[in-house]
Protein backbone atom coordinates (compact mmCIF):
# COMPACT_ATOMS: atom_id res chain seq x y z
CA UNK A 1 0.00 0.00 0.00
CA UNK A 2 2.66 2.42 1.13
CA UNK A 3 4.87 1.60 -1.80
CA UNK A 4 2.04 2.21 -4.24
CA UNK A 5 1.28 5.57 -2.79
CA UNK A 6 4.93 6.60 -3.05
CA UNK A 7 5.02 5.62 -6.68
CA UNK A 8 1.80 7.45 -7.36
CA UNK A 9 3.17 10.62 -5.79
CA UNK A 10 6.36 10.34 -7.80
CA UNK A 11 4.51 9.99 -11.08
CA UNK A 12 2.13 12.79 -10.19
CA UNK A 13 5.02 15.08 -9.30
CA UNK A 14 6.92 14.34 -12.48
CA UNK A 15 3.89 14.86 -14.69
CA UNK A 16 3.10 18.17 -12.96
CA UNK A 17 6.65 19.36 -13.53
CA UNK A 18 6.51 18.27 -17.14
CA UNK A 19 3.19 20.02 -17.60
CA UNK A 20 4.37 23.30 -16.07
CA UNK A 21 7.85 23.45 -17.44
CA UNK A 22 7.66 21.34 -20.56
CA UNK A 23 6.05 23.82 -22.96
CA UNK A 24 8.38 26.60 -21.88
CA UNK A 25 11.43 24.45 -22.51
CA UNK A 26 10.12 23.30 -25.88
CA UNK A 27 9.26 26.89 -26.89
CA UNK A 28 12.70 28.07 -25.98
CA UNK A 29 14.37 25.27 -27.88
CA UNK A 30 12.14 25.85 -30.90
CA UNK A 31 12.51 29.63 -31.20
CA UNK A 32 15.90 30.13 -29.61
CA UNK A 33 14.45 33.18 -27.86
CA UNK A 34 13.74 33.78 -24.22
CA UNK A 35 10.04 33.42 -23.32
CA UNK A 36 9.60 37.11 -22.54
CA UNK A 37 10.89 38.15 -25.94
CA UNK A 38 8.83 35.60 -27.76
CA UNK A 39 5.70 36.81 -26.01
CA UNK A 40 6.37 40.44 -26.78
CA UNK A 41 6.67 39.53 -30.43
CA UNK A 42 3.13 38.20 -30.33
CA UNK A 43 1.74 41.15 -28.47
CA UNK A 44 2.75 43.66 -31.11
CA UNK A 45 0.35 42.15 -33.58
CA UNK A 46 -2.76 42.90 -31.62
CA UNK A 47 -4.63 44.14 -34.64
CA UNK A 48 -4.86 41.12 -36.86
CA UNK A 49 -8.30 39.45 -36.84
CA UNK A 50 -8.92 36.75 -34.26
CA UNK A 51 -5.66 37.58 -32.51
CA UNK A 52 -3.54 35.68 -35.01
CA UNK A 53 -0.02 37.05 -35.18
CA UNK A 54 0.66 38.46 -38.61
CA UNK A 55 4.39 38.54 -38.52
CA UNK A 56 7.02 37.75 -35.98
CA UNK A 57 9.72 40.23 -35.31
CA UNK A 58 11.94 41.54 -32.59
CA UNK A 59 10.14 42.79 -29.50
CA UNK A 60 8.78 46.23 -30.23
CA UNK A 61 5.73 48.11 -29.08
CA UNK A 62 3.73 48.53 -32.26
CA UNK A 63 3.95 46.79 -35.58
CA UNK A 64 4.60 48.74 -38.74
CA UNK A 65 1.43 49.34 -40.68
CA UNK A 66 1.11 49.52 -44.44
CA UNK A 67 -0.44 52.96 -44.22
CA UNK A 68 0.82 55.73 -41.98
CA UNK A 69 -1.58 58.63 -41.97
CA UNK A 70 -0.08 61.94 -41.01
CA UNK A 71 -0.41 65.69 -41.15
CA UNK A 72 1.58 68.73 -42.03
CA UNK A 73 0.58 71.81 -40.07
CA UNK A 74 1.73 74.96 -41.78
CA UNK A 75 1.72 77.66 -39.13
CA UNK A 76 2.55 80.32 -41.76
CA UNK A 77 -0.93 79.80 -43.18
CA UNK A 78 -2.54 79.82 -39.76
CA UNK A 79 -0.74 83.04 -38.87
CA UNK A 80 -1.93 84.60 -42.09
CA UNK A 81 -5.54 83.58 -41.35
CA UNK A 82 -6.38 84.74 -37.84
CA UNK A 83 -9.22 82.70 -36.34
CA UNK A 84 -8.56 79.67 -38.52
CA UNK A 85 -7.00 77.66 -35.70
CA UNK A 86 -9.93 78.48 -33.43
CA UNK A 87 -12.26 77.32 -36.17
CA UNK A 88 -10.45 73.96 -36.30
CA UNK A 89 -10.69 73.60 -32.54
CA UNK A 90 -14.39 74.47 -32.52
CA UNK A 91 -15.12 71.99 -35.30
CA UNK A 92 -13.36 69.19 -33.47
CA UNK A 93 -14.97 70.11 -30.14
CA UNK A 94 -18.45 69.96 -31.62
CA UNK A 95 -18.00 66.84 -33.74
CA UNK A 96 -16.48 64.81 -30.95
CA UNK A 97 -18.62 66.10 -28.11
CA UNK A 98 -15.67 67.34 -26.11
CA UNK A 99 -16.78 68.66 -22.73
CA UNK A 100 -15.79 72.03 -21.27
CA UNK A 101 -15.65 72.66 -17.57
CA UNK A 102 -13.85 76.03 -17.64
CA UNK A 103 -11.37 74.68 -15.19
CA UNK A 104 -7.83 73.67 -16.01
CA UNK A 105 -7.82 70.58 -13.83
CA UNK A 106 -10.81 68.94 -15.52
CA UNK A 107 -9.85 70.11 -19.01
CA UNK A 108 -10.37 67.68 -21.89
CA UNK A 109 -8.56 68.66 -25.06
CA UNK A 110 -7.96 67.01 -28.41
CA UNK A 111 -6.55 69.97 -30.29
CA UNK A 112 -5.32 73.20 -28.75
CA UNK A 113 -3.06 76.22 -29.06
CA UNK A 114 0.07 76.86 -27.09
CA UNK A 115 3.23 78.96 -27.22
CA UNK A 116 6.21 77.90 -29.31
CA UNK A 117 8.33 77.37 -26.21
CA UNK A 118 5.90 74.71 -24.91
CA UNK A 119 5.37 73.02 -28.23
CA UNK A 120 9.00 72.77 -29.29
CA UNK A 121 10.99 72.46 -26.12
CA UNK A 122 13.89 70.83 -27.92
CA UNK A 123 14.34 73.71 -30.29
CA UNK A 124 16.20 76.91 -29.49
CA UNK A 125 14.27 79.60 -27.65
CA UNK A 126 16.92 82.29 -27.57
CA UNK A 127 16.22 85.43 -29.52
CA UNK A 128 13.16 84.03 -31.17
CA UNK A 129 11.87 85.90 -34.14
CA UNK A 130 8.72 87.96 -33.93
CA UNK A 131 6.47 85.39 -35.60
CA UNK A 132 7.27 82.81 -32.97
CA UNK A 133 6.98 85.35 -30.16
CA UNK A 134 3.60 86.54 -31.33
CA UNK A 135 1.87 83.39 -32.53
CA UNK A 136 0.74 80.17 -30.97
CA UNK A 137 1.11 76.67 -32.38
CA UNK A 138 -1.74 74.26 -33.06
CA UNK A 139 -1.18 70.97 -31.24
CA UNK A 140 -2.87 67.59 -31.38
CA UNK A 141 -1.91 63.95 -30.97
CA UNK A 142 1.10 63.13 -33.14
CA UNK A 143 -0.18 59.66 -34.11
CA UNK A 144 3.35 58.46 -33.37
CA UNK A 145 4.68 55.65 -35.52
CA UNK A 146 6.20 54.10 -32.39
CA UNK A 147 3.68 55.27 -29.83
CA UNK A 148 4.71 54.97 -26.18
CA UNK A 149 1.06 55.28 -25.11
CA UNK A 150 0.26 52.02 -26.91
CA UNK A 151 3.19 50.31 -25.28
CA UNK A 152 2.06 51.45 -21.85
CA UNK A 153 -1.62 50.56 -22.15
CA UNK A 154 -2.33 47.32 -20.27
CA UNK A 155 -5.68 46.67 -21.95
CA UNK A 156 -4.93 47.65 -25.56
CA UNK A 157 -7.61 50.30 -25.22
CA UNK A 158 -5.24 52.49 -27.16
CA UNK A 159 -3.82 50.72 -30.15
CA UNK A 160 -2.43 51.27 -33.59
CA UNK A 161 -5.02 50.76 -36.29
CA UNK A 162 -4.19 49.35 -39.71
CA UNK A 163 -3.92 52.81 -41.21
CA UNK A 164 -1.37 53.91 -38.65
CA UNK A 165 -3.79 55.95 -36.56
CA UNK A 166 -3.34 55.54 -32.82
CA UNK A 167 -6.94 54.82 -31.97
CA UNK A 168 -8.75 54.82 -28.66
CA UNK A 169 -11.30 52.20 -27.62
CA UNK A 170 -13.27 53.58 -24.68
CA UNK A 171 -15.02 50.25 -24.19
CA UNK A 172 -11.75 48.83 -22.95
CA UNK A 173 -10.21 51.75 -21.13
CA UNK A 174 -9.91 51.16 -17.40
CA UNK A 175 -8.71 54.67 -16.64
CA UNK A 176 -5.32 53.66 -15.29
CA UNK A 177 -3.73 56.67 -17.08
CA UNK A 178 -0.51 54.82 -17.87
CA UNK A 179 -0.85 56.18 -21.40
CA UNK A 180 -0.97 59.74 -20.11
CA UNK A 181 2.25 59.21 -18.22
CA UNK A 182 3.81 57.63 -21.29
CA UNK A 183 2.81 60.27 -23.84
CA UNK A 184 5.58 62.88 -23.98
CA UNK A 185 3.31 65.44 -25.64
CA UNK A 186 0.43 65.81 -23.21
CA UNK A 187 -1.96 64.76 -25.94
CA UNK A 188 -4.26 62.82 -23.65
CA UNK A 189 -6.95 63.89 -21.23
CA UNK A 190 -8.63 62.05 -18.43
CA UNK A 191 -12.33 62.39 -17.72
CA UNK A 192 -12.27 63.31 -14.06
CA UNK A 193 -15.96 64.10 -14.19
CA UNK A 194 -18.92 62.82 -16.15
CA UNK A 195 -18.32 64.57 -19.47
CA UNK A 196 -22.05 65.06 -19.97
CA UNK A 197 -21.86 67.64 -17.20
CA UNK A 198 -19.61 69.73 -19.43
CA UNK A 199 -21.79 69.44 -22.52
CA UNK A 200 -25.02 71.00 -23.56
CA UNK A 201 -26.85 67.76 -24.28
CA UNK A 202 -29.37 69.58 -26.47
CA UNK A 203 -26.67 70.87 -28.81
CA UNK A 204 -24.27 68.02 -29.27
CA UNK A 205 -23.41 65.89 -32.25
CA UNK A 206 -25.86 62.96 -32.24
CA UNK A 207 -23.59 60.94 -34.51
CA UNK A 208 -20.75 60.61 -32.01
CA UNK A 209 -20.85 59.17 -28.50
CA UNK A 210 -19.85 61.04 -25.39
CA UNK A 211 -17.43 59.38 -23.04
CA UNK A 212 -17.98 58.34 -19.44
CA UNK A 213 -16.20 59.32 -16.27
CA UNK A 214 -12.88 57.55 -15.82
CA UNK A 215 -11.69 57.05 -19.39
CA UNK A 216 -8.87 58.71 -21.28
CA UNK A 217 -9.42 60.39 -24.63
CA UNK A 218 -7.44 62.21 -27.30
CA UNK A 219 -7.46 63.24 -30.94
CA UNK A 220 -8.04 60.11 -33.01
CA UNK A 221 -7.25 61.80 -36.30
CA UNK A 222 -10.96 61.46 -36.99
CA UNK A 223 -10.64 57.72 -37.44
CA UNK A 224 -14.43 57.55 -37.91
CA UNK A 225 -14.31 60.01 -40.82
CA UNK A 226 -11.11 58.79 -42.41
CA UNK A 227 -12.57 55.27 -42.35
CA UNK A 228 -15.33 56.33 -44.73
CA UNK A 229 -13.08 58.36 -47.00
CA UNK A 230 -13.58 61.81 -45.49
CA UNK A 231 -10.86 64.21 -44.41
CA UNK A 232 -10.20 64.82 -40.72
CA UNK A 233 -12.60 67.54 -39.61
CA UNK A 234 -9.92 70.09 -38.72
CA UNK A 235 -8.26 69.61 -42.11
CA UNK A 236 -11.62 70.10 -43.78
CA UNK A 237 -12.16 73.24 -41.70
CA UNK A 238 -9.01 74.81 -43.08
CA UNK A 239 -10.63 74.72 -46.51
CA UNK A 240 -8.30 75.51 -49.36
CA UNK A 241 -5.85 77.54 -47.30
CA UNK A 242 -3.53 74.49 -47.32
CA UNK A 243 -2.80 75.17 -43.66
CA UNK A 244 -3.09 71.44 -43.01
CA UNK A 245 -2.14 68.67 -45.39
CA UNK A 246 -3.35 65.18 -44.66
CA UNK A 247 -2.12 61.97 -46.28
CA UNK A 248 -0.29 58.69 -46.18
CA UNK A 249 3.35 59.09 -45.21
CA UNK A 250 4.13 55.63 -46.54
CA UNK A 251 2.98 56.55 -50.04
CA UNK A 252 5.89 58.23 -51.81
CA UNK A 253 3.55 59.83 -54.34
CA UNK A 254 1.10 61.37 -51.88
CA UNK A 255 0.58 65.11 -51.60
CA UNK A 256 1.96 65.13 -48.07
CA UNK A 257 5.18 63.36 -49.10
CA UNK A 258 5.63 65.79 -51.96
CA UNK A 259 5.16 68.67 -49.58
CA UNK A 260 7.66 67.20 -47.12
CA UNK A 261 10.17 66.80 -49.92
CA UNK A 262 9.91 70.42 -50.94
CA UNK A 263 9.73 72.08 -47.52
CA UNK A 264 11.75 72.09 -44.32
CA UNK A 265 9.55 70.80 -41.53
CA UNK A 266 10.08 69.94 -37.88
CA UNK A 267 8.52 67.39 -35.53
CA UNK A 268 7.92 67.67 -31.80
CA UNK A 269 10.61 66.06 -29.63
CA UNK A 270 12.07 63.93 -32.42
CA UNK A 271 14.93 62.75 -30.20
CA UNK A 272 12.56 60.61 -28.14
CA UNK A 273 12.19 58.19 -31.02
CA UNK A 274 8.39 58.21 -31.07
CA UNK A 275 8.43 59.15 -34.77
CA UNK A 276 5.58 61.66 -34.78
CA UNK A 277 3.42 61.64 -37.90
CA UNK A 278 2.59 65.32 -37.51
CA UNK A 279 5.04 67.74 -39.11
CA UNK A 280 5.22 71.48 -38.59
CA UNK A 281 6.32 74.54 -40.42
CA UNK A 282 6.57 77.24 -37.76
Amino acid sequence: MDKKRREFLKIAGISTLAGLGGTAVIDRLATGASPARARAAYEINSLSPAGQPKEKGPAKAAAKTSQRLGLVIDMRKFNANPGLAEKCIKTCDFLHNIPHFNNKKDEVKWVWLTGYENAFQEHSHYYRNETLEKNQVLLLCNQCDDPPCVRACPTKATFKAKNGIVAQDYHRCIGCRFCMAACPYGSRSFNWRDPRGGLDMKHINPEYPTRMRGVVEKCTMCVERVGIGKLPACVEATGDTKAMIFGDLNDANSEIRKFLKENYTIQRKPSLGTHPSVFYIV
Binding site: K162, A167, P206, V223, E224, G227
Partner: protein
Protein backbone atom coordinates in the same frame (compact mmCIF):
# COMPACT_ATOMS: atom_id res chain seq x y z
CA UNK B 1 -43.11 19.93 18.49
CA UNK B 2 -41.75 22.50 20.87
CA UNK B 3 -42.74 26.07 20.20
CA UNK B 4 -45.01 25.10 17.32
CA UNK B 5 -47.10 28.15 18.15
CA UNK B 6 -44.19 30.32 17.06
CA UNK B 7 -42.67 28.18 14.33
CA UNK B 8 -45.78 27.59 12.22
CA UNK B 9 -46.91 31.24 12.01
CA UNK B 10 -43.28 32.12 11.41
CA UNK B 11 -43.11 29.69 8.49
CA UNK B 12 -46.35 31.03 7.06
CA UNK B 13 -45.07 34.59 7.26
CA UNK B 14 -41.80 33.52 5.63
CA UNK B 15 -43.53 31.77 2.72
CA UNK B 16 -45.85 34.72 2.17
CA UNK B 17 -42.89 37.09 2.24
CA UNK B 18 -40.84 35.07 -0.25
CA UNK B 19 -43.75 34.69 -2.67
CA UNK B 20 -44.69 38.35 -2.35
CA UNK B 21 -43.88 39.23 -5.99
CA UNK B 22 -46.07 36.38 -7.26
CA UNK B 23 -49.26 37.07 -5.31
CA UNK B 24 -48.83 40.82 -5.34
CA UNK B 25 -48.99 40.66 -9.16
CA UNK B 26 -51.85 38.11 -9.03
CA UNK B 27 -49.61 35.46 -10.58
CA UNK B 28 -49.33 37.57 -13.67
CA UNK B 29 -45.96 38.65 -15.11
CA UNK B 30 -47.38 42.00 -16.15
CA UNK B 31 -48.19 43.23 -19.60
CA UNK B 32 -45.54 42.35 -22.16
CA UNK B 33 -43.89 45.59 -23.27
CA UNK B 34 -44.75 46.90 -26.69
CA UNK B 35 -41.85 48.92 -28.01
CA UNK B 36 -42.88 51.45 -30.61
CA UNK B 37 -41.84 50.43 -34.12
CA UNK B 38 -40.33 53.01 -36.47
CA UNK B 39 -42.79 54.50 -38.93
CA UNK B 40 -40.45 55.20 -41.78
CA UNK B 41 -38.65 51.86 -41.98
CA UNK B 42 -39.97 48.40 -42.68
CA UNK B 43 -36.96 46.15 -42.39
CA UNK B 44 -34.31 45.78 -39.75
CA UNK B 45 -30.79 44.53 -40.31
CA UNK B 46 -31.87 41.08 -39.07
CA UNK B 47 -35.26 39.34 -38.74
CA UNK B 48 -37.27 40.50 -35.74
CA UNK B 49 -36.95 37.31 -33.71
CA UNK B 50 -33.21 37.29 -34.16
CA UNK B 51 -32.89 40.96 -33.27
CA UNK B 52 -34.96 40.41 -30.17
CA UNK B 53 -32.71 37.62 -28.99
CA UNK B 54 -29.32 38.66 -30.30
CA UNK B 55 -29.10 42.41 -30.77
CA UNK B 56 -26.61 42.72 -27.95
CA UNK B 57 -24.26 40.26 -29.59
CA UNK B 58 -24.67 42.00 -32.93
CA UNK B 59 -23.72 45.31 -31.35
CA UNK B 60 -20.63 43.81 -29.78
CA UNK B 61 -19.61 42.27 -33.10
CA UNK B 62 -20.14 45.57 -34.87
CA UNK B 63 -18.08 47.34 -32.26
CA UNK B 64 -15.16 44.97 -32.75
CA UNK B 65 -15.36 44.99 -36.54
CA UNK B 66 -15.50 48.74 -36.78
CA UNK B 67 -13.29 49.90 -33.95
CA UNK B 68 -10.72 47.14 -33.70
CA UNK B 69 -10.55 45.89 -37.28
CA UNK B 70 -11.11 49.27 -38.86
CA UNK B 71 -14.03 48.30 -41.08
CA UNK B 72 -15.77 51.64 -40.99
CA UNK B 73 -17.52 51.19 -44.32
CA UNK B 74 -21.23 50.63 -44.86
CA UNK B 75 -22.96 47.26 -45.13
CA UNK B 76 -25.84 46.80 -47.53
CA UNK B 77 -28.98 44.98 -46.49
CA UNK B 78 -31.75 44.67 -49.07
CA UNK B 79 -30.22 47.45 -51.09
CA UNK B 80 -30.14 49.83 -48.13
CA UNK B 81 -26.79 50.99 -46.77
CA UNK B 82 -26.26 50.76 -43.03
CA UNK B 83 -23.40 51.92 -40.89
CA UNK B 84 -22.46 49.41 -38.23
CA UNK B 85 -23.33 51.80 -35.47
CA UNK B 86 -25.75 52.07 -32.57
CA UNK B 87 -26.13 55.83 -32.91
CA UNK B 88 -25.87 56.03 -36.67
CA UNK B 89 -27.89 52.99 -37.64
CA UNK B 90 -30.21 51.66 -34.90
CA UNK B 91 -31.18 55.02 -33.49
CA UNK B 92 -31.69 56.55 -36.92
CA UNK B 93 -34.85 54.42 -37.35
CA UNK B 94 -35.67 53.83 -33.69
CA UNK B 95 -35.57 57.53 -32.97
CA UNK B 96 -36.86 57.32 -29.41
CA UNK B 97 -34.81 55.41 -26.89
CA UNK B 98 -37.61 55.90 -24.36
CA UNK B 99 -40.30 54.37 -26.54
CA UNK B 100 -38.16 51.58 -27.95
CA UNK B 101 -35.03 50.47 -26.10
CA UNK B 102 -36.13 51.38 -22.59
CA UNK B 103 -39.48 49.59 -22.91
CA UNK B 104 -37.96 46.12 -22.76
CA UNK B 105 -34.87 47.03 -20.81
CA UNK B 106 -36.97 48.31 -17.95
CA UNK B 107 -39.35 45.34 -18.14
CA UNK B 108 -36.43 42.91 -18.02
CA UNK B 109 -34.65 45.02 -15.39
CA UNK B 110 -31.46 45.22 -17.40
CA UNK B 111 -29.27 48.27 -17.39
CA UNK B 112 -26.95 48.10 -20.41
CA UNK B 113 -23.90 50.30 -19.99
CA UNK B 114 -24.02 51.25 -23.68
CA UNK B 115 -25.90 54.35 -22.59
CA UNK B 116 -23.03 55.55 -20.42
CA UNK B 117 -21.54 56.96 -23.61
CA UNK B 118 -23.95 56.37 -26.47
CA UNK B 119 -27.08 58.42 -26.44
CA UNK B 120 -30.24 59.06 -28.36
CA UNK B 121 -30.80 62.50 -29.76
CA UNK B 122 -32.39 64.75 -27.15
CA UNK B 123 -35.44 66.48 -28.56
CA UNK B 124 -34.84 70.20 -28.78
Amino acid sequence: MYDSGKIIPGLIIFVLFVTFPVWYNHGDAGAVPKPEMPKNAKKCVLPVAQMRAEHMQLLLDWRDEVLRQGEWGFITIDGKPFQRSLQNACLKCHTSKKKFCDKCHIYAAVNPYCWDCHFARVKK
